[in-house]
């Protein structure tokens, strides 16, 4: 379900796939057609007047008198032959030899007289049909080959490596005709007597001669030259140098476990501490997931003085942070209580403008639902407007809902209550958000002092909202208490223990938060810090929920769930409603719609209605973003004073600010900045700067070497050296390591990410088994375990809930374990798909129980009057279930309930439905994953778009 919400992965192919190109292009893959276009037809301009062209300028016929050689006429192709072809070839079919068959086929330079047959003048070369002679820039020919006439196919090839020209006749190689050719030659044909007609084939259709085999020969020759190139190799220095290159590369990009293993097996050592590598890896992870604020803080923490000394880099990071804010991925905008850098903020869009979304690690169910849903607007009553957008204070309060999921419910309920309390609170929040001048981001130390709910990147603004938040929370708690369902379940402690400690340890929460149950809120915050389990977040956030009225509660729960995992997406929905349906009236109704929307989003995934909004659509966030923008501007001015003008910085800033000028920045001309791929250069320069500060090379020698080679290749093609056609860096330099032989550390998961420039590809053949045995299998078992609850009676609430929740927690642990050793990447991995789906299944099993319980409960008795204390988990599950249960309550909910005559029916259906769908996913996953592996990418189980493995 979660995965079903449709995701586009980032990372478009970096190199245009040859297969997609036309036939001519595919013959010469190394030719850069922007610089040196390929000849594809005869030029209608560069020809003598006696020549006529037809059939897309491919057929040439003679229309002159043809009395003597002064009536000869020739035509050149549109473009010269690029050197990067390596071996260029075209064929001419003699349709009719005309009166005398004086035809010449060959090559000529630009500017050679067109009133002549090719070969007669300087820089022109031809093979003539009447006598079979070859003419090499002179009026007299040499005997070369057979004559040719109607029906023959003459091919002319030029080997740009040896600089020779050869011909073929009807597929038979005639041998070299000319050597030492000049560069920049055009395919040329010349005719001299009436009735002569020839057709050219520049590669549009298959050649008669097997040119492919010749190309392969040249390729193997070039490769052989490269491979046997003598290197000064004394005492194995060459090999150790290569080892060193690989090892430095691995270290540089933070593949620490791999680097360790490699160093072990090749007896190398690397200069950097392991912890330092891990730190860099952590920072990279943050940057690539778009959480610039956190990244900057972490850098400050771990490498004090680095950014202070390198203002330009800091500026670059800040600008990127600004862009991420616009994108809605930065922590300052998201703020969903995510204190852990390892928890990636996944922002997504339902109907995506190209592949701009970052799938840092996973797409979670709830986040999708929120992202796509168009949630009803919060009450319009709150009208203290936050300046930039039309959003009201209530929207700011809603944004606060988003930020702190524990209180989301409260605030929503607050709204439901319709009370002035909510409005007032909202107003306060709006005031706080609007008026507080945002100070520059403070270092973590200061933040610690202020925050109540722990973040590493809080600003004053957020602090305020937090306060607000808890106020609501508190308020609501009292308000709603009467409707708490009877079941209590305390399972907080295990959950807490299961969440991995995030690098900047989450401060113990709401000591300062008013009177709310601090323990539960802390549990929720820590749960959200758990790096991978969004569903557990939901569960958790609901621990403090009370429920009376199922519908409302369900909505709230869903909202909470949404917010927990994806606040910005949720806010998105809100914002939309703000704009579109501001006049929405009743609170209850709103809630219902909201719930429905959420449901839509949850179920329909990508098909949701809402579009992406700037900063995730939250006005407060927009405001923060604007403030931040000002700050960045200020910084740029300071930089200008201190370091002088920098066009680069200026351009960067301009581009970033231009984003604001568009309604839909993703589709704007400057929208490319929002592409997660753009994080990679930033990430790289940050990484390089860190390394540089440690007196390590900015770039790994391997990359330098590859870059040199690339440059060399373009240089070769420019200076007319044909060998470049057959020495492709990306194809030839593949490192193929048989992992089973190398006995490398198992940290090489199937989704070893390609680093930003992807120069390396690894053979992963040995790894599949490992993955499936140590990772996949346990998760399958856990999922199956969760289905056990279908066989337990609905009355046995504690048993079923415990089972469900435990499964979720185990799954979460598994997931975080599995991702721990992997370097950060900005796109989704196949492993993520797997884990998320499993998690969703476990979650749905719990959800199913909630439905069952609810139905069961309903049927048997009326809800008991509010018990004094709210049970934790059971309710949570229940509410969520109802959220799902909710759509279209008014119209058909009754009928629906009747349809389900009993809760056992649901259980029975689930017993079949769950295993069936799950195992089909498993099968699909493995089929597609293994099938797509060779190409470096694979599809996932259920048509969820392309995943890069």
């Amino acid at each position: 379900m979660a995965a079903g919400s449709g995701r586009h992965s980032a990372s478009p192919p970096l190199f245009p796939s040859v297969a997609a190109q036309d036939a001519v292009k595919s013959l010469y893959p190394m030719v850069n057609e922007e610089e040196t276009p390929l000849p594809r037809c005869w030029s209608s301009k560069d020809k003598y007047s006696f020549i006529g062209l037809s059939q897309n300028n491919l057929r040439v016929h003679y229309k002159g008198h043809g009395k003597n050689h002064k009536d000869a006429a020739s035509v050149r192709a549109t473009h010269p032959i690029p050197a990067a072809c390596g071996l260029y070839y075209y064929e001419v079919k003699i349709v009719s030899k005309g009166r005398d068959g004086y035809m010449g086929i060959g090559l000529s330079s630009q500017g050679v007289n067109m009133n002549r047959l090719p070969g007669w003048d300087k820089n022109s070369f031809g093979y003539h049909g009447d006598d079979g002679h070859s003419f090499c820039s002179s009026g007299s020919g040499h005997p070369y080959g057979p004559t040719f006439t109607t029906g023959d196919v003459i091919g002319c090839g030029i080997n740009l490596i040896d600089n020779v020209c050869f011909y073929t006749k009807n597929g038979h190689y005639l041998g070299v005709a000319f050597a030492d050719l000049p560069s920049q030659l055009y395919p040329t044909v010349g005719l001299q007597t009436p009735g002569e007609v020839v057709d050219a084939n520049f590669g549009q259709s298959p050649f008669v001669f097997d040119i492919g085999e010749m190309m392969r020969e040249l390729q193997s020759r070039v490769r052989n030259t490269i491979q046997t190139f003598p290197v000064p190799d004394t005492h194995g220095q060459w090999q150790s140098m290569l080892h060193r290159m690989v090892s430095t590369y691995l270290v540089h990009h933070g593949y620490c476990a791999t680097a360790e293993a490699f160093a072990r097996s090749t007896a190398q050592d690397f200069d950097e501490e392991l912890t330092s590598i891990r730190n860099r890896q952590k920072i990279q992870k943050l940057v690539l997931s778009g959480r610039m604020g956190e990244a900057i803080d972490t850098v400050h923490q771990l490498y004090p003085g680095l950014l202070e000394n390198n203002k330009n880099l800091l500026f670059m990071l800040k600008v990127r942070q600004f862009i991420e804010m616009v994108n809605g991925t930065d922590t300052d905008v998201v703020r969903g209580g995510s204190h852990s850098p390892s928890r990636p903020p996944t922002q997504d869009t339902p109907s995506p403008p190209p592949p701009s979304t970052c799938w840092a690690t996973n797409g979670r169910p709830a986040e999708h639902s929120t992202g796509s849903s168009s949630t009803p607007p919060p009450p319009s009553s709150a009208s203290t407007a936050a300046p930039p957008s039309s959003s009201s204070s209530s929207s700011s309060s809603s944004s606060s809902i988003i930020q702190q999921h524990t209180s989301v419910i409260q605030s929503t309920k607050d709204i439901i209550g319709g009370g002035g309390g909510g409005g007032g609170g909202g107003g306060g929040g709006g005031g706080g958000g609007g008026t507080t001048a945002p100070p520059p981001p403070t270092p973590p130390s200061t933040t610690d002092d202020r925050t109540t709910t722990t973040t590493t990147t809080t600003t004053t603004t957020t602090t305020t909202t937090h306060h607000l938040h808890h106020h609501h929370h508190h308020h609501n708690r009292h308000h709603r208490r009467p409707s708490t369902p009877p079941v209590h379940l305390q399972w907080r402690p295990p959950h807490q223990s299961s969440s991995p400690p995030p690098p900047p340890p989450p401060q113990q929460n709401p000591a300062s938060s008013s009177s709310s149950s601090s323990s539960s809120s802390s549990s929720s915050s820590s749960s959200s810090s758990s790096s991978s389990s969004s569903s557990s977040n939901m569960q958790d956030s609901d621990t403090e929920m009370e429920c009376v009225e199922p519908a409302a509660a369900a909505a709230a729960a869903a909202a909470a769930a949404a917010a927990a995992s994806h606040s910005n997406g949720f806010a998105n929905g809100f914002d939309k409603h703000l704009e579109e349906e501001e006049e929405e009236e009743e609170d209850e109704e709103e809630e219902e719609e909201e719930a429905m929307d959420i449901e839509n989003g949850g179920g329909g995934g990508g098909g949701g209605v809402g579009g992406r909004k700037m900063c995730g659509g939250s006005p407060a966030a927009i405001e923060r973003m604007l403030h931040f923008g000002r700050e960045v501007q200020h910084m740029s001015q300071v930089l200008k004073i201190h370091l002088g003008k920098s066009d680069q910085n200026k351009k960067m800033l301009q581009d970033a600010f231009s984003l604001l000028a568009y309604n839909d920045p993703w589709n704007s001309p400057v929208g490319w900045q929002l592409d997660p791929l753009q994080r990679e250069p930033v990430c790289q320069s940050l990484n390089s700067a860190i390394l540089e500060s440690h007196q390590l090379p900015r770039r790994p020698p391997l990359e330098i070497c590859v870059a040199h080679t690339r440059q060399l290749l373009t240089l070769m093609s420019r200076s007319g050296l044909g060998s470049c056609a057959f020495s492709s860096v990306d194809h030839d330099w593949r490192l193929r390591w048989n992992l089973t032989q190398q006995k490398l550390n198992p940290c090489w998961h199937s989704d070893v990410p390609s680093p930003p420039t992807r120069p390396l590809q690894f053979d992963q053949s040995g790894i599949q088994t490992f993955i499936s045995s140590t990772l996949m299998f346990p998760t399958v078992l856990i999922v199956i375990l969760s289905w056990m609850s279908f066989w337990i009676a609905p009355d046995a609430t504690p048993a079923r809930v415990t089972l469900g929740v435990t499964s979720i927690l185990t799954m979460a642990t598994q997931y975080s374990q599995s991702t721990k050793n992997l370097p950060p990447v900005s796109y989704i991995k196949s492993l993520d798909i797997w884990m998320i789906t499993c998690m969703v299944y476990v979650f749905m099993a719990l959800l199913e129980f909630a439905i069952v319980y609810h139905v069961h409960y309903r049927r048997t008795q009326a809800p008991p009057p509010s018990p004094p204390r709210c049970p934790a988990a059971t309710n949570a599950a229940l509410h969520q279930t109802l959220a799902l249960d909710r759509p279209g309550v008014k119209s058909w909910a009754v009928g629906w309930r009747e349809f389900w005559r009993g809760d056992t029916a649901i259980d029975e259906a689930s017993r079949v439905f769950f295993p069936l769908t799950y195992f089909s996913f498993v099968v699909g996953y493995f089929v597609l994953l293994t099938g797509g592996q060779e190409g470096g990418s694979g599809g996932d189980g259920g048509g969820r778009g392309v995943i890069y493995t």
Partner: protein, 678 residues
Amino acid sequence: MEVLPTCMDVEHSRVYIDQLYSNDSQKCFQAVSELKFAVIGSVREKGSIIEQGVVVRLLQILRAPELDILLKTEVATVLNSLAKGLPEHAAALVQAGLLPVLWEQLESCPSGGSGSAYTQMLLCCLRSIYRQGCAPPPPAWDQKLLSSLIQHGYHPPSNQECVANILAHACKTNEQQQQLVDAGGADLVACLLCSPVSRVQLPALHCLTAMCFNNERVSSIIATKSYGGKAVPDLLVGLMARDRPRDMQLAAATALTFLHRAGALSADDPRIIYKTLQCLVRMCRRDREVWERVEAANTLAYLTEVSTDLQRTAAMTDHLIHTMNDYLKDTTPPNASVPQGISVSPVSCRQYDNPSTWPELMVGAALKVYASLGANDEDIRQRVIKTDVLMNTIVTSLSAASPPVQLAAVRCLHSLSRSVHTLRTTLQDHVVWRPLMTVLKTSNNEELVTVSSSTLCNLLLEFSPSKEQILDQGAVEFLCGLTRRPHPGLRLNAVWALMNMAFQAEHRVKVSILHHLGTDQIFRLLSDTDVHILMKTLGLLRNLLSTKGHIDQIMQCHGKEIMQAIILILEGEHSAEVKEQALCILANIADGDIAKSAIMSNEDVLKKLMNYMVIPNVKLQIAATFCISNLIWNVEEGAAERQNKLREMGVYKLLQNLMTTTDTGLFDKVKTALQQFH
């Protein structure tokens, strides 16, 4: 340590050689191990060990049934190492009777245990012996042994390599080829071709080549075999791809060539005319190794020997004629050194060991290519002849060169002599007949003499200016001598040459021919089993019995014998063509004044003639009628008598009956004959 190392060596070797003869298998094993380490990598040591006669003891160990398999494996290793030494070493091993022992041991190996080290080592040893090129192949394969050998060849790559090598070197005769295919060799080879290891593919190709050579049946079987869904010819094309190693390309092209020549693939098959031909031409280029160029040229000559299409295509591909010219000039190969580790086909094994023979090999190969190219097409022949030093090379090669090159030169000359133009100009200018006659008279190589005599046939054609000079050299005598040779090809060529010589020749020549040939020999030739020889002999008689004067003179001397010979033919069981020739001779005889009587006096012949006039074969009818009309020719003396006699015999009636014929040729003849009757 004070002892000098050489002394130590001697002392040491004596010790383990002594121990070798020990009965204690433990000690023996020790000794063999030491021997192994001593032998490996040292040619000198190998020689000395073989000289000491250790081989006999080793074979004895192999044969001993009670001894441990480990020891035997070690022994086989030693033998393998010895076999890898100089060719002489391998020859010595064969002399010592190694092969039967090895085969016997291999046979006794369990067929299922093809993976065992002992089997592998035995195969390696056999392979090493055969690769030295000095082992005589088993005269005929033991069927059981062969199939077990093929079974061994399937599994480990080392076995695959060994078995392919053994088969490639040991398959020489037609019978062996057949046996090999029957035992499943074709499937094995198809399987080996798909091996990823080039060390296996290459011997597999050689093996395939050896199996297909000149064997239609085997080739057609192999061409239909497939492995992994690809037919063998397609597999070969795959191995011939330009990015494959050169020796592999060459071997694959050779295999395809042999398949083509054995009729399994037609000449217009794209795999032959595009792929194979181009590959071979490419291998002839100047930038290749000498041995590659020679092999490629030889194969190319074989490929293009027959098909005119292939000759035309080859002649225009990649300046082949010009490339071959390089072969003739390129007499001193730069930095000539023996190529190491090349794997040429078993046929040319050890041919390239001596760099000083390379120029000769190249010249031979080039001449063969020219011979094939110029075989049928006059245009190509003219282009070949224009090649720079060709004629000089041919002449010098004819007079002073090794037989293979001489043969190539004569072949080339033969091809070129098919052109009338050349015959009258170039060949005359270079006085090629002189060395040719020398070759004919001195050589006892039958193939060489055959080709030379065919060339001589062309040179003796009536329009050839060298005819007279050749006659002066005593050609008649020589050719008549040739007709007595046992080789049918030689007899045919000799008779043919005589026939050519007798065509419109002077009387003295004819007399000389008759004199030297003798009527006995004519009868012998007429009773030859080869119909071609018979036809040419009749042709010779016809040429001898032309023009009136000659007919009379010859008939006077040999009339009786000739008439006997003709009756012999007419009465014998011969085809219509032969009898037609005989009737034509009769017609010639009937042309002579005096000779007529020879027929008229022989009623038997006349009756036969009348018989042939009614036989339902137009050609025979024409010939007989022609003969009759010659007999009754009006102008000649005594015509009336003959007419009367024939009229009496009912010839006139017969002729009138024949007037109803629908055949215009016959009708004309009959009409002429009737007109001659009064």
